[in-house]
């Protein structure tokens, strides 16, 4: 990993941004200069200043503090979605690929194909629109959307790995099915899953912001970057900073995860470097 970061400057940049974001997400309540929910109507829509480097929003709230707390929400949603969809997706797809037969057909047809028959963002919108807003429902909806990708990837990888000699050797030594699956097969498919995690984190953060932008995600007054952008839309003429700073935070975050994911993919698959 350290050799990858030394060689690839963009990946190193992404890694540094992600580490900084994680720090901000963990310690946001202590490093925010102001309480992000305190309204100061005398300062509404004021542009950047020394006291408020990112300016104030339509209720006079400090945008820097809201952007910092927004990082906590984005990272929390991203991490939970990746964790849930990753664990369940890899288990469902992996077991289907390993066991084969009817279970495999069921997983491929019912779980993967039916989820992939919808464009991801539409499925997320549909689920949240019917389930209602709230961070837990949002995480659930995005996990369902992300699950199919992990299941398909894990199934494909397991189908490849289970024919390799070390698996045959484990079978010959009398190891049980679950033991082979969890101790031998799963660890050997972890690398491509890691690439998917990095790209999945970017997608989850983007989806969360999209849904919050549409008013379907995080309920106000919690500061989601997407919701902040939606608030700023009505003030493009008089307070463009309301749009610029949350946009920059969002793009930088998604870009960093994509940089890292891209570099990981190239690193793990030397063939793609050649092309």
């Amino acid at each position: 990993m350290s050799s990858l970061l030394r060689r690839n400057k963009l990946a190193a940049f992404g890694f540094i941004v992600i580490c900084s974001l994680t720090f901000v997400a963990l310690f946001a309540p202590w490093i925010m200069p102001y309480d992000p929910s305190v309204q100061d109507l005398a300062s509404r829509l004021l542009g950047p200043s020394w006291d408020h480097p990112f300016g104030n929003d339509e209720l006079g709230r400090d945008i820097l503090s809201r952007v910092l707390l927004g990082a906590r929400i984005s990272m929390r949603v991203g991490a939970m979605v990746v964790l849930l969809s990753g664990i369940f997706g890899v288990l469902i797809g992996g077991i289907a690929g390993y066991v084969g037969g009817r279970i495999d057909t069921f997983v491929t047809v019912v779980v993967v194909n039916s989820l992939m028959a919808f464009p991801g963002v539409l499925l997320a919108i549909a689920l949240v629109a019917f389930l209602g807003p709230g961070i837990d429902r949002l995480i659930f909806a995005l996990s369902v959307v992300g699950l199919a990708g992990y299941a398909r990837l894990a199934r494909g990888q397991v189908l490849k790995v289970k024919t390799l000699e070390f698996v045959e050797a484990a079978i010959a030594l009398g190891a049980s099915g679950p033991r082979i699956f969890f101790l031998h097969v799963l660890p050997s498919i972890i690398q491509p899953i890691l690439v998917q995690v990095s790209i999945g984190m970017a997608a989850a953060i983007m989806f969360e912001a999209s849904l919050s932008f549409l008013g379907l995600g995080i309920a106000p007054p919690a500061p989601s970057w997407g919701a902040m952008l939606n608030d700023g839309r009505g003030h493009l003429f008089d307070a463009p900073h309301m749009v610029v700073f949350p946009s920059v935070a969002l793009v930088l975050t998604v870009l960093s995860f994509n940089f890292l994911g891209d570099a990981l993919r190239d690193w793990l698959d030397p063939k793609s470097l050649k092309s």
Partner: protein, 306 residues
């Protein structure tokens, strides 16, 4: 050819059935009573009962499903709960605007991605290649709802050259098309680059160069034509996803299409209209994928024999 398309069409039927069934199931996953949700808090019980009866939600589930499927076969998507308009008519009047926007977005993406991808492949390993690579990733990381307002800020507010929102002439189409097509351009650029890299190493390209053909002809008439095959697939798959992306872009630019109608249905908790919108977008997605396969089999006959 016909056999290939027929086989592909038959394989699409279960996917359509799954989509139709899932869209039907959506209204049943609403926590609590969907009718009470639609009418809002504190709605009187008789009114809830009346609407439940009108929507057929008081019938057994299987009966509801049967009626829903029969309605779909007749082209009946139900009635909008808010303005009592036929859902099918509401969608039909907005759909052309979405198609227009999606087509313009594809055009924008092709205009940006083909030259960028070809240059990136030809100048592989140079600063230009890296810059195009970074811009592609930036395009992928820039969501529609961030790009849209930033473009409005630049072109409508600071420069004052393009309208902020609405649907009218060509000028109204430019910013929404760039917003929607930007992400697609990023994906397509990467695809054109990797596809061109493969093609320019082939023997027939060496032959074309040995014949003394100008480099422009070698690249665009020979390499790009073959290199576009995988690009067509990606473009087709992404074109379906564009329809979903239009939900956000149309909201940003107040574009009167299916996406904006979907958001209006969500905000009004107009579930019949929302179901109709989701079904239409999903079926369009499937149809575009099917058309992509058909086009691909025409462009590359080898695919029919696999």
């Amino acid at each position: 050819m016909a056999a290939f398309l027929l086989r592909r069409l038959v394989l699409t039927i279960p996917v359509v059935w799954i989509v139709v069934t899932l869209v039907f199931a959506l209204i049943h996953i609403v926590p609590g009573d969907p009718v009470a949700q639609m009418l809002g808090e504190g709605a009187p019980q008789p009114e809830i009962q009346k609407l439940r009866h009108e929507l057929g939600l008081d019938l057994p589930l299987l009966e509801q499903y049967r009626i829903y499927l029969l309605g779909l076969l007749r082209g009946d998507l139900g009635t909008s709960f808010r303005n009592q308009e036929s859902v099918l008519r509401a969608i039909a009047t907005r759909y052309p605007a979405t198609i227009q926007l999606a087509a313009a977005a594809i055009l924008v993406s092709l205009i940006l991605s083909i030259p960028a991808g070809v240059v990136s492949a030809v100048k592989r390993g140079t600063v230009l290649d890296s810059a195009i690579g970074v811009f592609s990733l930036l395009g992928l990381s820039l969501p529609n709802f961030a790009l849209g307002p930033l473009l409005i800020l630049l072109f409508s507010i600071f420069l004052g050259v393009l309208p902020v929102s609405g649907r009218g002439g060509l000028a109204h189409l430019i910013l929404p098309a760039i917003t929607l097509g930007g992400g697609l351009a990023a994906i397509t650029t990467r695809m054109v680059r990797s596809s061109m890299l493969e093609e320019i190493q082939q023997d027939y390209i060496r032959t074309a160069r040995a014949k003394g053909l100008p480099e422009r002809v070698v690249l665009f008439r020979h390499a790009l034509r073959n290199g576009m095959l995988p690009v067509v697939t990606i473009l087709g798959l992404q074109a379906g996803a564009l329809l979903a992306g239009a939900i956000i872009t149309e909201s940003v630019f107040a574009w009167p299409g299916l996406g904006r109608l979907t958001v209006q249905a969500i905000n009004a908790r107009d579930y019949p209209l929302l179901q109709g919108c989701i079904l239409t977008i999903s079926l369009s997605y499937i149809l575009v994928n099917l058309l992509t396969d058909a086009i691909y089999s025409v462009v590359d006959p080898r695919i029919r024999y696999e």
